[in-house]
């Protein structure tokens, strides 16, 4: 299953500056009884250990208080720490892929971008980033 990178504006508000292509995937987040009503883009991030989502999405999958999950502090690239609360028995569905992929998801109100880390990659035989083609591939 191949997806093209999506190009986003970059370098401030100067429209003369180039776009930057990023590996973002359209996904749904599913709980036991409910799901996000519309898909949203999440960054495919080989440097991230796990799946991280904005806290505001937790309510859509039946989690009324995301802080009741398993606390695992997380350190970002600038050594900044964030309290992330993990919940099991959730799943990710990539648009165009028929399977719901079971995963733990960490929620935090410090996260600004949905991230699919390597715990998501583990569902596939391989995950390939083709920078020259600006394309990513998830191989079953």
């Amino acid at each position: 299953m191949k997806f093209s990178y999506q190009k986003l504006p970059f370098a401030g508000h100067d429209t003369r500056q180039p776009l930057i292509a990023r590996p973002i995937l359209p996904v749904y987040l599913h709980g036991q009884k409910s799901s996000t009503p519309s898909p949203y883009y999440a960054l495919l991030d080989s440097g991230a250990d796990k799946v991280l989502m904005l806290a505001e999405l937790a309510g859509f999958v039946g989690i009324n208080d995301f802080t009741k999950g398993r606390l695992e502090p997380t350190i970002g690239i600038a050594n900044q720490r964030a309290d992330v609360y993990y919940h099991d028995n959730l799943s990710i569905e990539v648009v165009g892929h028929s399977k719901k992929l079971s995963t733990s998801v960490g929620f935090s109100d410090k996260i600004f971008l949905p991230i699919l880390g390597r715990s998501f990659f583990a569902h596939f035989k391989s995950v390939i980033f083709s920078e020259n083609k600006e394309e990513m591939e998830l191989r079953d």
């Binding site: 093209s4 999506q6 190009k7 986003l8 504006p9 970059f10 370098a11 401030g12 508000h13 429209t15 776009l19 930057i20 990023r22 973002i24 359209p26 996000t36 009503p37 519309s38 898909p39 949203y40 883009y41 960054l43 991030d45 080989s46 440097g47 991230a48 250990d49 991280l52 904005l54 505001e56 999405l57 309510g59 859509f60 997380t74 350190i75 970002g76 690239i77 600038a78 964030a82 992330v84 648009v95 165009g96 600004f112 971008l113 949905p114 991230i115 880390g117």
Partner: protein, 70 residues
């Protein structure tokens, strides 16, 4: 939402519009148009109505490269 609909969404063609929504959510239709925005996913879904062909994007900060790995 079908993959064929997703494939019609090209954020590069929306660059001028997206610059207005830094750090906000936007809802993008299958016709590649921004049809709603908000500070939260829920607010944005609400503004987009009940359409099935809607894709949401949290527009990141536009003045810095991304290195969010955690």
């Amino acid at each position: 939402m079908k993959k064929s609909t997703i494939q019609k969404i090209d954020l590069g063609l929306l660059q001028k519009e997206l610059r207005k929504f830094e750090n906000m959510w936007v809802a993008i239709s299958g016709e590649n148009k921004i049809i709603g925005s908000g500070s939260t996913y829920a607010e944005t879904i609400s503004k987009a109505g009940s359409r099935e062909d809607v894709m949401l994007l949290r527009v990141p900060s536009l003045d810095a490269s991304l290195a969010p790995s955690a």
